[in-house]
């Protein structure tokens, strides 16, 4: 099997090389004839690991991670806790709370009144999964989803928790998941980066996002997440200056290549040839990226599926549609961030808006991938960096409350990519405060994601500063029960 994968990889590269050779870019330059490898990696590995090759047969080829930044409250979305309504206003029993540390925001609170969700839940689909009324579209695709209700993390504040779930370390300066996958599996589309990032924001209380979340860390910078922005330049500096036609750009690059070639003849440095190559890649990206991102040719039923917001650049819906297009074009890891889920107060109002921002498009993405036959090979993940407390932060009034950070349990869902559809994994206790069954640590989650992509999390290592680093640091186990 491993041999087959290797053969496949070699053939793939050969085919690509030959097809590029016949493209005929109209240049006599050295560079345009070189084998194109847009995101060339220079880091040779000492442990016999071949970057760009899975360890075993992968179930998924690509990932789309719909990150809900700020930590959405599981009690209002997917983790149905009727008991909390019964206990409304009663203090969280110290036996349940245990010795858990609290954030500086509620540590000084004298009471911890439990608060039930303001919104109702119903069961849906054949799987009878509970979903709140805030997520009607998601409710329609529950049979494709695997809910994990027993996620837990180590950090209690946004910055370290975000960094932890994306890079496996709270401190940053490590490669994020997308960078590891780019390093481990290489790139499917040589005209697009393997790891792209799309940002959007709701009206809820927001937390920033940080470029360290899509950092390449100590890996070669070709593995860094490339942020696609909503502006006219989806990739920074992509657009040629005003007044320059494609023909004129081509002419400039031809002249440039000719001059660089003179320099190559003098110095013999392969870096010069590589540079010419990178300019040719840049040129091709200039055409490839806008073509991929053009939504004008999407049919009406697709626009309807994602909702009218998908035509408004910078919205979560537009990013979901873009995510499908990038993913279908071979982008290994598409990372979305939707900000605004940090409901310390005014939760009922804010979370309803946040849910409305993301519900339809998240479900649409699942439906869309499925109808294209892509869901099997695309792993979709939906979730935040931690959960929220079952007790209220601040004052509990008849129709208003807030919830503080809660690392002990939270809910995410996954779909496609060889994950069992229509199941719920893990349980929290009846107060939704502690995990009652099947805890899933962030490193377990990361190990499982890598596993679906054909990578053994203990073998995907990079030696830096004398240590072999992993996404899962020193722990993590694959959750086999959720794998189809």
């Amino acid at each position: 099997m491993e041999k087959e994968i290797l053969e496949h990889g070699l053939n793939f590269n050969r085919r690509r090389f030959l097809s590029r050779m016949s493209l005929g870019l109209g240049s006599v330059a050295l560079g345009s004839l070189l084998m194109p490898d847009l995101f060339r990696s220079s880091g040779a590995d000492e442990d016999g690991f071949t970057p760009g090759m899975p360890h075993f047969a992968p179930k998924a080829k690509r990932v789309i991670y719909l990150f809900q930044n700020g930590a959405p409250s599981q009690q209002e979305l997917f983790d149905y806790k009727p008991k909390l309504r019964e206990l409304m206003g009663q203090d969280l029993p110290p036996s349940v709370r245990g010795t858990q540390r609290l954030t500086g925001m509620t540590a000084n609170q004298k009471e911890f009144p439990l608060v039930g969700s303001f919104v109702d839940f119903k069961q849906y689909g054949e799987s009878r999964a509970w979903v709140s009324d805030l997520m009607p579209y998601t409710a329609g695709v529950v049979d494709d989803l695997c809910f994990v209700k027993s996620m837990y993390t180590e950090a209690i504040n946004h910055d370290p928790a975000l960094t932890f779930i994306q890079t496996g370390s709270q401190q940053g300066n490590r490669p994020s998941m997308g960078a590891w996958l780019s390093y481990g599996l290489g790139n499917e589309n040589k005209n697009l980066p393997a790891f792209t990032v799309l940002l959007s924001r709701g009206i809820g209380n927001g937390q920033g996002v940080y470029s360290k979340l899509w950092s390449n860390g100590f890996l070669d910078s070709v593995h860094q997440g490339v942020q696609f922005s909503k502006g006219e330049d989806p990739v920074l500096y992509l657009r040629d200056p005003e007044g320059m036609t494609r023909t004129e750009r081509r002419a400039m690059l031809d002249n440039l290549a000719q001059l660089n070639d003179l320099s190559y003849q003098e110095f013999g440095d392969p870096e010069i040839a590589a540079k010419v190559q990178q300019y040719e890649m840049a040129y091709r990206m200039q055409t490839a990226v806008p073509t991929v991102l053009d939504v004008s040719k999407e049919p009406d039923d697709i626009i309807k599926l994602y909702g009218p917001d998908c035509l408004v650049p910078g919205t979560f819906a537009a990013n979901c549609l873009m995510a499908r297009k990038l993913s279908e074009n071979g982008v290994r890891f598409v990372q979305l961030y939707h900000q605004g889920w940090d409901q310390h107060g005014n939760l009922p109002f804010e979370i309803a808006k946040q849910a409305k921002d993301v519900d339809q498009a998240s479900a649409a993405l699942i439906t869309d991938l499925k109808q294209r036959g892509l869901l099997d090979e695309t792993l979709v993940i939906w979730g935040g960096e931690f959960g929220r407390t079952s007790y209220t932060q601040g004052k509990l009034t008849k129709d208003n409350y807030g919830r503080d950070h809660h690392p002990r349990c939270f809910t995410i869902w996954m779909a496609g990519g060889g994950i069992k559809p229509g199941i719920v994994y893990g349980e929290t206790d009846e107060m939704g405060y502690n995990i009652a069954q099947n805890p899933v640590h962030v490193h377990d989650f990361q190990a499982t994601v890598l596993n679906q992509l054909g990578l053994n999390h203990e073998k995907l290592v990079f030696k830096y500063q004398g240590r072999r680093f992993r996404l899962t640091d020193v722990s993590g186990k694959v959750i086999h029960d959720i794998i189809a």
Partner: protein, 781 residues
């Protein structure tokens, strides 16, 4: 035409094949390499043990298997715990040594390292271990933890070549491998290399003319001296130090608010320009607050404001402003950051590995980590002092205030532009001692034993004669017996001038670090540096006046094959310049560069929406308000660094994000870099401004191209180059329409002279922009 393509195709395939084969060869070379006559523990065996065995049989007591430790002879020669009749090592007898038996057995259930570890020994490694045991299995202390002694200069055959001591060591290695040094680089290229290395700027025309005209034997020495005197020298040297000290203009966590730490950066530039000895440079930064008098090394009294400002060094780390922070968790993180920076940046060791457990490879215990930690644990600080807000949050206590009279006096190098209150985070200890405990598994609230300040014994025990504070720590660092301090800084400087350190892993001199390419040279330089009062400029001058440095960068096929990474330095350094210097080169060659030194960081052109898209919406840095006027044209090192969204054109060229101490930047080559050079308004505007200047001169097209080329590439173009560019200019003149030309010119805020013909200007602008995009332009070669 067709023939040419075939020729190029063949050439390309040949190069491809060549590149692939040399990549393979470099690894197979090591495998085929001969086993040395005498196997050295330090250079042959330790790297194998450290990399392949230490995880289970190394210094970490908690992960040790079978009670066996292979890095420690006492344990390795002792009877095995589980098989008292057997021994891991029996000197002279590999067949009786369990080590050799277990690494060479065909039985996979016995094989070491165990197959499931993913680690494997090569045939050569097994042979080396066998021979080492045969020769008596002698252990040596790790070379980097033994204080350097100046070795004798080696004898060389080609004894006319060396210009100074460096060259003897370099040449000897070359001769061992049968290589000859390259010729000296041509004067123009040499001047560009030198100017970039000493000032971060390309040479200007008067300097080029003067140097080309100077035929005296000491012409090169004179230009070195002249460049060392330029204020830009301090800026150039400071840049690397800003990476080490993780300097930035924002607090770094979550909301990522603004901070005014830049006066510390001005201090660094000034210190390099004044040529502060390295010992004083570091001591002030580590312990300026504990130094009493301006010349002093301790004693009662209060430090000067200059000494205090230097200590901003240890407060450049990220500081949280996130509500709900648990104070002690973050305070512990700051102390950890300082400890790790001290290890990596100043001592060249991966101390951070001992944060959670004993170091797995180097002889540093977890206890020793916290002893070092104790030096930095007494600061009058809290985890979260204030949430994001106004000017009072731009520095965190302990802080100092810089008032206008300081700027007129002792802090005259601080480029304060207004009379607003200016505060900087600096060091200051509590009056009492905060107890330091080992953090079990690195967890801040899981305390183990209490520890006292101290240093890793395997490097150098902490002497009783030193005070147990940061000033004592500085004295320990600059103790002549300290084996690391001088080597580490010499190596960092070497890396600045030759691209790669004598030890490639500049942040890891430990057992997992790479071995030095020229160990004797490193020791010679380290001892010489100490003997000459830690004089930085002197050391810089030694490096750049060596024959090694002055070689041409031409790579022959032979050298590319035997030494693809130029570790033997049989040719001059050739690599892309740092992100900040790419910007500097563009601005200075076009004449736009604003040469003001220091002051608050600035916000030049940046693609819209980057800050806005990633912000929480709070604070001064939530929206990018671009600067105007001459603030648009300042050197790259003054571009404001907002840690969570660092300046994109810098990040694309591998600049540090300044999250943590960094001693070595990556040097990558990506299409995004091509896009920056092609489309960044900074480059386009510079092209337009320079084109306008050229067109205003009364000269012919070729003369204009010639001048642009000299300004940008720092050499005269060849006839062929001029021909290509002139032809390109003529065709652009023909192609460009007036409306297109007008659009092309509408970039940047610098005014366009009204008198110029738009089509001509746009055509010339494209020529200049093409020159900016040449590989050679942003390459030191």
């Amino acid at each position: 035409m067709k023939r040419l393509s075939y020729y190029l195709l063949a050439l390309t395939l040949a190069i491809l094949g060549f590149m692939q084969s040399c990549a393979k060869q470099s690894s197979s070379l090591a495998d085929n390499e001969k086993i040395p006559e005498v196997v050295s523990y330090n250079f042959d065996i330790r790297p194998i043990l450290s990399d392949k065995c230490s995880t289970c049989h190394g210094p970490d007591a908690n992960k040790r298997e079978a009670g066996l430790r292979l890095d420690d002879p006492e344990s390795a020669f002792r009877a095995l715990k589980e098989h008292p009749t057997a021994h891991a090592l029996v000197a002279g007898k590999p067949e009786l040594s369990e080590v050799f038996r277990r690494i060479s057995t065909p039985d996979t259930s016995l094989l070491m390292p165990p197959p499931n570890s993913g680690l494997k020994l090569s045939a050569r490694e097994i042979n080396l271990i066998e021979k080492w045991i045969k020769q008596g299995a002698t252990y040596e202390k790790h070379w980097a933890f033994v204080a350097p002694k100046a070795p004798k200069l080696p004898a060389v055959d080609q004894d006319k070549w060396p210009k100074n001591e460096i060259d003897y060591f370099i040449l000897q290695k070359m001769e061992d491998k049968g290589l000859k040094p390259n010729e000296e680089a041509d004067k123009e290229r040499l001047l560009k290399r030198l100017s970039l290395d000493l000032t971060g700027l390309p040479p200007d025309l008067p300097l080029m003319d003067a140097f080309m005209a100077d035929n005296s034997p000491n012409a090169y020495g004179k230009v070195v001296d002249a460049l060392l005197k330029r204020p830009a020298y301090g800026e150039k040297m400071a840049l690397h130090w800003l990476d080490v000290a993780r300097y930035a203009d924002s607090h770094g966590y979550q909301d990522d608010g603004y901070r005014t730490q830049w006066p510390w950066r001005d201090w660094v530039i000034n210190a390099y320009n004044k040529n502060l000895p390295y010992a004083e440079f570091v001591t002030k930064q580590l312990a300026g607050d504990l130094m009493a008098d301006p010349n002093g090394w301790g004693g009662p009294g209060t430090p000067t404001k200059e000494q205090l400002l230097a200590t901003g060094f240890n407060r450049n780390h990220k500081i949280t402003e996130e509500g709900g922070t648990i104070q002690e968790e973050y305070r512990a993180m700051y102390v950890t950051d300082r400890t790790d920076m001290f290890g990596k940046g100043l001592m060249g060791i991966t101390m951070e590995c001992a944060h959670c457990h004993d170091h797995k490879y180097d002889p540093f215990s977890q206890k020793e980590y916290y002893k070092l930690f104790a030096f930095f644990n007494n600061v009058k600080e809290v985890g979260m002092e204030s949430v994001i807000g106004g000017p009072n949050t731009y520095a965190k206590k302990p802080l100092m205030e810089i008032c206008d009279e300081d700027v007129q006096g002792i802090l005259s190098f601080v480029n304060k532009l207004d009379t607003n209150r200016l505060i900087v985070s600096v060091m200051g200890d509590l009056d009492t001692t905060r107890s330091t405990f080992i953090f079990n598994r690195g967890v801040y609230d899981d305390h183990g034993d209490e520890v006292q300040p101290g240093t890793p014994a395997s490097i150098l025990p902490f002497s009783d004669k030193y005070p147990k504070n940061r000033l004592g720590l500085a004295k320990w660092m600059f103790d002549r017996k300290n084996p690391l301090t001088a080597r580490v800084y010499v190596n960092q400087l070497w890396q600045e001038f030759f691209g790669t350190g004598i030890i490639r892993t500049a942040g890891d001199f430990g057992m997992q670090g790479e071995l030095p390419s020229h160990p004797e040279l490193l020791d010679w330089l380290a001892v010489d540096f100490m003997n000459h009062g830690w004089n930085i400029k002197r050391l810089v001058k030694q490096m750049v006046t060596s024959a090694t440095y002055r070689q041409s960068a031409v790579v022959s096929k032979e050298k590319l094959q035997t030494d693809p990474n130029n570790r033997l330095l049989a040719r001059g350094p050739r690599y892309r310049i740092e992100a900040e210097f790419v910007r500097d080169l563009v601005l200075s060659s076009s004449g736009l560069l604003n040469r003001r030194i220091g002051g608050p960081s600035v916000k030049p052109y940046q693609p819209p929406g980057l800050w806005e898209g990633a912000t929480s919406g709070r604070g001064l840095l939530s929206m990018y308000v671009q600067d105007h006027g001459d603030k648009l044209y300042r050197r790259g090192m003054y571009t404001l660094i907002k840690r969570t969204v660092p300046p994109p054109s810098m990040a694309i060229f591998d600049a540090s994000n300044r999250d943590l101490c960094e001693v070595r930047r990556l040097k990558t080559n990506t299409p995004l870099q091509a896009l920056v050079m092609l489309n960044d308004p900074t480059v386009l505007e510079a092209s337009r401004v320079l084109a306008a200047k050229l067109l205003q001169e009364k000269s012919g097209t070729e003369a204009k191209i010639n001048k642009a080329f000299r300004l940008i590439v720092a050499r005269k173009p060849t006839e062929k180059e001029v021909a290509v560019l002139s032809e390109y200019y003529r065709s652009e003149l023909k192609n460009l329409t007036r409306p297109h030309a007008e659009k092309a010119l509408a970039v940047g805020e610098y005014p366009i002279p009204k008198t110029l013909d738009k089509v001509q200007l746009a055509a010339m602008m494209r020529i200049v922009s093409t020159i900016y995009n040449l590989e050679e332009t942003i390459t030191k070669s």
